[in-house]
Amino acid sequence: MSGYAPYVWGSFGFTAMVLAWNWWAPRSRRRRILEAELDE
């Protein structure tokens, strides 16, 4: 990576984390909404 590895891998790693959050957050909220519906 000609000395740029921390910047390149840091960028890809950060983006992967944000994409994973975008995948996980709606799933988690859906579960909470349906659980609240079940409790009512």
Partner: protein, 248 residues
């Protein structure tokens, strides 16, 4: 045609349509992202000036392009919500804001990580960087404003007005590198006509842009579904869905 549009605006119809199509969107996004990222990291040759640091474009450019597209989508949904008072448009508006904000954060952070080795600094108050930061504040404004209201419909309408007014920032971000002297490089890929980038670098980039766009489409669909579930809680179709949900 119009009948189909009217059906699309129906919460249960849209929910089921999204339920059917979202997984396919997710799979297509992952395939394109894998193609773009692996192509960009492994197969694209290093840039003659920036060497391997240029590979950051495979995450930076898609995030920046999508952050602008999503804001435009949010403003269009806001206009529909204000003019036709369509509940689904309100849901699209509020569902797009967190996804757009996250893409703006990615564009800013990866831009900083590119700026440090190329410019010698993480941040400058340059027109492109500053207008992209304003875009993030607009997204955060929409998220915060929606949460400040107890009535989701009133909150969504207030957000719609903010989104519509804020859309003026989209062309400012896009053309900032042409209108002002900027440290940020000019358009190389997204410019109209012939892009000034080699094809073996460009093809994975287009795949990464398409993959990021589809992934955000997937995330927005899932968030719209949640918003519909939340607003329609207690109705017959949501109760039926709860019974049919796996693991229940």
């Amino acid at each position: 045609m119009w009948t189909w549009f009217h059906r699309l605006a129906s919460p249960p119809f849209f929910f089921r349509l999204a339920e059917r199509w979202a997984p396919w969107l997710g799979v297509a996004a992952l395939v394109l992202l894998a193609w773009g990222w692996i192509g960009g990291l492994v197969f694209a040759p290093p840039d003659y000036q920036q060497k391997d640091a240029f590979r950051i474009i495979y995450v930076h450019v898609p995030a920046a392009a999508v952050s602008l597209s999503l804001y435009t989508l949010m403003a269009l949904a806001g206009a529909v919500a204000v003019i036709w008072r369509m509940k689904l448009a309100e849901c699209v508006l509020v569902a797009t804001a967190p996804v757009g904000a996250s893409m703006t954060v990615v564009a800013l952070v990866t831009g900083m990580l590119w700026g440090k080795p190329m410019w010698g600094t993480y941040w400058v108050w340059d027109a492109r960087l500053t207008s992209e930061l304003v875009l993030l504040f607009l997204y955060l404004g929409v998220i915060g404003l929606y949460r400040a209201f107890d009535d989701p419909r009133a909150g969504a309408r207030a957000c719609a007005l903010l989104a519509i007014v804020g859309v003026v920032n989209v062309p400012i971000v896009k053309y900032s590198v042409e209108w002002w002297n900027s440290l940020h490089q000019g358009s190389t890929i997204m410019k109209l006509g012939k892009p000034s980038i080699a094809l073996e670098m460009a093809i994975p980039l287009y795949a990464a842009v398409a993959g990021t766009l589809l992934f955000c489409g997937y995330a927005i669909l899932r968030r719209v579904q949640n918003e519909l579930l939340w607003r329609e809680r207690g109705t017959q179709w949501v109760r039926e869905l709860r019974v049919g949900e796996p693991g229940r």
